[in-house]
Symmetry: C2
Subunit: 536 residues, 2 copies
Amino acid sequence: MKEYAPSAANFVPLSPLSFLSRTATIFPDRTAVVYGERSYTWAEVQTRSQQLAGALNAAGIGLGDVVSVISANTPEMIEAHYGVPLAGGVLNAINVRLEPETLAYILDHAETKVLISDSAFSQSVKKALELTENKDILVIDICDPAAEGDQIGSQNYESFLSNAVLAEFVGPENEWQTLALNYTSGTSGRPKGVLYHHRGAYLMAMGTIPGWNIGQHPNYLYCVPLFHCNGWNHVWTMTILAGTIHCIRDLSPGNVWSEIERHQITHFGAAPIILGNLVNASSKEVYPLERSIEVMTAGAPPPAAILEACASLGMNVIQVYGLTETYGHTVACQPQEDWLSKKPEELATLKARQGVAFPITEQVRVVNVNTRKDVPADGETEGEILVRGNTVMKGYYKDEQATLEAFADGAFRSGDVAVRHPNGYVEVRDRLKDVIISGGENISSVEVESILYTHESVAAAAVVAMPNEKWGEVPCAFIELKQGARTPDIDGLRLWCRERMAGFKTPKRFEFLTLPKTATGKIQKFELRKLARDLD
Amino acid sequence: MKEYAPSAANFVPLSPLSFLSRTATIFPDRTAVVYGERSYTWAEVQTRSQQLAGALNAAGIGLGDVVSVISANTPEMIEAHYGVPLAGGVLNAINVRLEPETLAYILDHAETKVLISDSAFSQSVKKALELTENKDILVIDICDPAAEGDQIGSQNYESFLSNAVLAEFVGPENEWQTLALNYTSGTSGRPKGVLYHHRGAYLMAMGTIPGWNIGQHPNYLYCVPLFHCNGWNHVWTMTILAGTIHCIRDLSPGNVWSEIERHQITHFGAAPIILGNLVNASSKEVYPLERSIEVMTAGAPPPAAILEACASLGMNVIQVYGLTETYGHTVACQPQEDWLSKKPEELATLKARQGVAFPITEQVRVVNVNTRKDVPADGETEGEILVRGNTVMKGYYKDEQATLEAFADGAFRSGDVAVRHPNGYVEVRDRLKDVIISGGENISSVEVESILYTHESVAAAAVVAMPNEKWGEVPCAFIELKQGARTPDIDGLRLWCRERMAGFKTPKRFEFLTLPKTATGKIQKFELRKLARDLD
């Protein structure tokens, strides 16, 4: 007999838009988004997203047109995650801390048609618009009393919405259709535009539920910027679960702790540096929780010392690993039942590993950088992490060469160096380009840093290569001290290191400063490498 | 720029096979399947499934070939759910209670190449094999000391496996590839063969996690026969969650209660009739639980009285609704937070409704049977349920006409009559063909039954049409009494009904008997209709 082709009855393109229409139907009156004194129900989020889509369509946005958003985690940003794809457009959420030159580069490269801009960032956006060659951008202002700044667009977001005809709520015709365009942080060279499709976002959002073991109706605090992998796709996950999303601008530890307490937050995601701030906050800022709170961390390998401190404050941290190119988390440090009996220090060490395939990830390999064959699972042999699955990007926008190179193994080349432990758990040792090669020996900057983090005075540490005539490179440590901690004696610190690591791994130089960080809390090692070059 | 096509790196066909390879990698030593004194870890389930696939390939099974299984819920049945698709084959799990003629019809219609047969059913299978025109079936016996019966095949399952070369663990090339063939119960005419694809099974298994709000590592008791919608796809869901699946043959209430207690069962699924047996079991069989247990029920609308009794015994029941054609549950009675404050009786009434779209279901409509337009959400106007989504079957095997008819609305026609309540929840009133039309008025048999269930002596009730000269049809009630209950006085029972329902709905005849049921606990109304005809 002949095969049945997919039909309207039995084939619906996978799209996160389905989550909103379902949740708004079943839980119309449940609170969806809270921001300061404002809050919206799921029915309101749906209606406002339809208004936004209608307004964008009226402004000429159609299939594949790029709508850029430069905003903090506001209700408008949440609405853009539904309204832009509903209009058929591509959502391009841009890092708010980028300098005007890079903003302008992105607006040009993305061929942005509409820019929704948070007044808090009007200064740099204004400069970027002057620099851009793309002069036909319709600019819409998010005017927020909580954020000072100028109105730079032709109208504000609320009036843009209020004049709109509601767009019909229909999903994409093709699940491979582009949903989002996210630029990499561009720590080396120009940022690259990573293309996400509807299928991948649907699956990432769905897979996060078993991956994080998360139940119905979470109270979620949005600490992760939504411009970073669309906030780890959590906006879509929270919709399936009919949770409540709490938006904040102020990520200072005092404010985060107070939000956790005030809104009975059950879940949040944050970079390790934010966790470090939370555990190192002054005792009058920290709210000792009488319950446990679920925390997802990613962006950099979290030092075991910080994980241990988190646990003591009631934060149950799961570490995940991924990149912009993998829609965020694609590997997770899946807890094992026998970990319950481990001592805190041992547990923190286990939890500091990146782990195993996320539920939606098909395969995670660690391969020798030359032979491209799997390294042995001995916890020692290093190789590059490869990821294969439905949450790997479509490719880099307008960069076929880079796309071909990234997919050369039939999987995505992460550029991260890792070992695989005998239990299969992967542990990232370094970015390929962050490895320090000293006298022919590879030194993992992450390994040296994780030891420095156990020092009583260290709040944060970054180790980079410093040029050296004799050894080629030597490790140089940049250290951010805990509040109130005195600068340690250098010789004493060197000795302390020497007792805990091989001589060639011991930093040859120590510098104390506030570490330069990206908007997502990643330490900017390229800045430190520049500093290290000048130190020599 | 040109669009990027899907590649090996970023497109993996969705298949439940991915769940097993991931869980066997991350939790190799965790107990996967328990059956009596036997148990297997997830690594063993993977290996044995690869052995089964290797053996099937060696026996000539290739892409699209049908492997039928007639078995109770045994470890072999679980393995078949992975081994058969791994071999490229189509899994055809057949209802063990079918009479030999229908078994033979299915073996012929499915063009079965290999039949794996549980010795418990050797008598009827032997007869079926004599009746079938398909004489080239390789028969493999599951020989289980707990199940008496003859060996009728050429070899037993264990030797079949032990001689095999392990198949490589690779998923399908196309997610639309047929995974399973499930025959409808055939209450009218010949059973129809429903085709499932890998994509639908993956999504159903994944969507069941938020839909049932189920966490990591459940202890799941498999009461639902695996030949019914592949056991509601729970075998695949439990794999994602690295749960433990407990298989049993004996579904008597005493044994189910004892298994729940012995294995600290956290979740099970069962038809309402099984729940009725559990709550009506003798006090020495019922284990009063000190914890609550999550129960999914489907197969027939559960009477509110049974739901209330379940709640009092610690069973938190969620009702789901679906058909073989929708991979099982496609609608669920999603609990609302304000239900927590409802009185038990009111809550049971709410929970007796079928509910709203399951997370994976795109759309559930209730349409007027003539105009095909949505009925108002007034809780009164009846219409037919339509379902659209990725867990709707590909079609009926070798029956294009029936497939076209089923999909005529661009959605699947369920054949079930329902109303939609103002909050959007759907309530099934009847099978289209079970509606009783008396004097031009429609009578929902389900409505009359749910009232009968509240009578103190009634264990189960079924109401069907009885021919009547004056009215065309009148309702006839078949009642199964609780253990030890005395047969009620007919006039008194009629009066009791009359006080609770309109005169035309009151059964004109009452009969007391043990109700005929299908293997899945559905009451066989077609048998009762035959009886009712003869009563007149």
